[in-house]
């Protein structure tokens, strides 16, 4: 090896790029390049089979923003978020506080397993069960409702109810993960702190609110952030297997709208424009979370 090569190798070996390089390359290849391609594609009509592109300028953005189905998907995304965020964070939080106070180990384990079990199912498997429960004529829910005098509901085909049916299933399917996160966080709360509070006469409720909750706030913040991602993203699985966005798009959301434009109707230019708009919305939500949410998090 010549002196020049040796010098170059020494400089490279001492350089942070040697270590960061593979990660940066992967990020460029699998994140930034697809994002740039999507942005570029949003200005074109692109035929999948002919592999031809036609310049459309901002037409896809104008078309999407004027599309009533996009408006409906945007509103529905808000409804999903407004309903599922409190449900998927609040209920597991309350359950976690209750479960850590269960003294009998076997009972505690049984509850945890039963509550977490739906999270390990895939949406298609869960849907098989729920489609039977939701059947408007022979389903369990209407049979149960009928027993107490409630009129039968069309859970998946009534435009006013379908979105709530998806919310029920999405909640049932996903709340176990947050429960696990909260249980793990509560297990790490130092016992000397809670013990001291108990000796000072703090009630279990006071201990939970004033001591344990602040101490698990990083986990709470994490759960809020991941739940928003789940609601924006993974709920597509529930929508697809239960209602396919129907009846007439009333249970669709932004991601499902994107999926339909791209992979059902093969309007890739339009789908790319929708993807860019969704990315902008998600960026805004994430900024708001960190701007307003993180100040309540105690990392010490």
């Amino acid at each position: 090896m010549t002196t020049a090569w040796r010098g170059a190798w020494r400089r490279l070996a001492g350089s942070p790029w040697l270590f960061a390089g593979p990660a940066v390359a992967a990020a460029i290849l699998f994140v930034w390049l697809p994002m740039a391609s999507t942005l570029g594609l949003s200005f074109f009509d692109w035929s999948l089979l002919r592999q031809e592109a036609t310049w459309r300028g901002l037409d896809h953005y104008r078309g999407t923003l004027a599309n009533p189905d996009f408006h409906l998907a945007l509103v529905n995304t808000g409804v999903y978020l407004a309903a599922l965020l409190p449900l998927q964070v609040g209920i597991p939080l309350v359950l976690a506080f209750a479960l850590v106070r269960v003294k009998a180990k076997a009972t505690g384990r049984l509850y945890r397993t039963a509550l977490f079990a739906p999270s390990v199912l895939s949406f298609p498997v869960a849907a098989v069960v729920w489609l039977w429960l939701f059947n408007p004529t022979v389903g369990f829910l209407n049979t149960l409702g009928g027993a107490v005098g409630l009129p039968p509901q069309r859970w998946l085909t009534d435009p006013d109810i379908a979105i709530w049916s998806v919310i029920i299933v999405a909640f049932w399917k996903s709340f176990g993960l947050n429960l696990l996160i909260f249980l793990a966080a509560l297990a790490n709360v130092p016992t000397d702190v809670t013990e001291a509070a108990r000796i000072d006469g703090a009630s279990p409720l006071r201990q939970a609110i004033d001591i344990e909750l602040p101490l698990i706030s990083p986990a709470l913040f994490f759960a809020v952030v991941t739940t928003i991602i789940v609601v924006l993203d993974e709920i597509v699985g529930a929508v697809d297997v239960l209602t396919e966005g129907g009846p007439y798009r009333t249970s669709s959301n932004l991601l499902y709208f994107l999926y339909e434009r791209g992979f059902r109707h093969f309007q890739f230019g339009e789908a790319a424009a929708v993807a860019v708009l969704i990315a902008a919305i998600v960026a805004g939500v994430t900024w708001a979370q960190f701007r307003f949410g993180e100040r309540h998090v105690h990392y010490d």
Partner: protein, 411 residues
């Protein structure tokens, strides 16, 4: 005990492992492989039996079954993606409604070009004369019309007789049917009627009222006065609380459980419905509208060839020859599809009404025109669903439907 591996052995072992990946599939056997993409589930489905019976003949062609979805829309979407990736299906059961899309966008092959006019003629001559025109999309023969069904009424005979209705009654019009359904519902407490909410059954109502969904020139005309009349008749039982709207899987499950008196659905659904139904079941022809000539539609799928490889095209032809033979079609009729061939095969029990409806003449299923036909179909179903749910009046809904589809066809 360790043992050194020689370079020669290592090379041979590596080559053996890599061979299935590196070598083309065709070179692994002498047969030409022709994959058939379809939507039929289950190892016992007649499509598996037809394929097995053909493969067992050792013609030098092996048909490979590939279920790629459960609806025509899904398999078409997946086919489009696989064609774009250069791995398109050799053959696919293509929904009639997507015929234009299959020809213009997916590139379904013209039989005359790939088989030659004489062989095409010989193949299609095996079908009944009234069916042959349906095999052509825009005048181009691109499919074997092997799967044809028609809407029929499935009557729960146990509930029907329990309600005091004549066990042999066959209402010819919806005006006759609806009072009977009312009686069944009032006397048994079960849901009287259920219709499919899709594009196909409403088409029957539109046509029987004298209208059309798309006219002969490919223009949407589903908002004509006749079409409005047809859809009014379609939604009437929903307004009269005789029909609780549900999805098709929900409807079939409820019907099989004996919770619905009368269900309107495809005659091809018969084998599935009978599997779990524990009551007497009777199929009758779909009623028309009083005072108007019957104009029932057909539906189902045709077998189209997408491969551009000559060997695969010839293999597809051999398979089609077998399917249209008496032996092949007898197996295929187990599905509940109609005997559309000239083969002398006795009508299967339960298929009499559907077969008689076909003999009376069927129109083709609406073929959604243009490169965005698949999207137009979705839009149409959305408007029909809105109308059924009472979210919009029938005339307004159909007018908006036409306007939306006009735009998509023009795009």
């Amino acid at each position: 005990m360790s043992r050194a591996v020689s370079r020669r052995h290592f090379t041979l072992a590596a080559a053996a492992l890599a061979a299935p990946v590196v070598l083309p599939r065709e070179s692994l056997g002498n047969d030409v492989k022709v994959d058939l993409v379809h939507l039929f589930s289950g190892a016992e489905h007649p499509i598996q039996k037809v394929i097995k019976a053909f493969n067992d003949k050792g013609t030098g062609v092996t048909v490979v079954s590939r279920q790629d979805g459960t609806t025509y829309e899904t398999i078409t979407q997946k086919a489009m993606a696989s064609i774009a990736a250069g791995r398109g299906p050799a053959m696919m059961t293509t929904g009639w409604k997507l015929g234009d899309f299959a020809r213009k966008t997916l590139g379904a092959q013209d039989f005359r070009q790939i088989f030659g006019p004489d062989r095409t003629q010989a193949l299609l001559a095996k079908f009944r004369p009234q069916v042959r025109p349906l095999a052509a999309i825009g005048g181009v023969p691109i499919g074997l019309p092997w799967s044809m069904s028609t809407p029929v009424l499935y009557i729960n005979q146990s509930l029907w007789t329990e309600a005091g209705l004549d066990p042999a009654a066959t209402p010819k019009t919806v005006e006759e049917l609806y009072p009977m359904v009312r009686q069944l519902q009032d006397k048994t407490g079960k849901q009287g009627l259920c219709y499919e909410v899709n594009e196909w059954l409403p088409q029957a109502f539109i046509q029987n009222a004298g209208g059309d969904v798309i006219d002969g020139d490919g223009r949407p005309v589903m908002d004509s006065a006749a079409a409005v009349k047809g859809i009014e008749a379609f939604v009437q039982p929903r307004r009269d609380n005789l029909w609780r709207v549900m999805t098709i899987p929900e409807m079939v499950a409820a019907y099989q459980a004996g919770a619905i008196g009368v269900m309107a659905s495809s005659s091809a659904r018969q084998s599935v419905v009978r599997q779990a139904a524990k009551f007497d079941l009777r199929l009758i022809q779909m009623p028309g509208l009083a005072g108007l000539p019957r104009r029932m539609n057909s539906g189902g799928n045709f077998l189209a060839v997408y491969s551009k490889v000559k060997e695969q095209q010839d293999g597809a032809y051999k398979f089609m020859e077998f399917v249209t033979s008496k032996e092949g079609f007898e197996i295929w009729l187990e599905t509940g599809y109609l005997n559309v061939t000239t083969n002398d095969i006795p009508v299967r029990p339960g298929s009499e009404a559907a077969q008689a409806q076909m003999e009376g003449g069927l129109t083709s299923e609406t073929i959604w025109p243009g490169a965005r036909g698949l999207e137009a179909l979705t839009v149409h179903i959305d408007w029909i669903t809105k109308i059924v749910n009472g979210a919009v009046s029938v005339p307004d809904g159909l007018r908006s439907d036409r306007a939306a589809i006009d735009k998509l066809i023009a795009a």
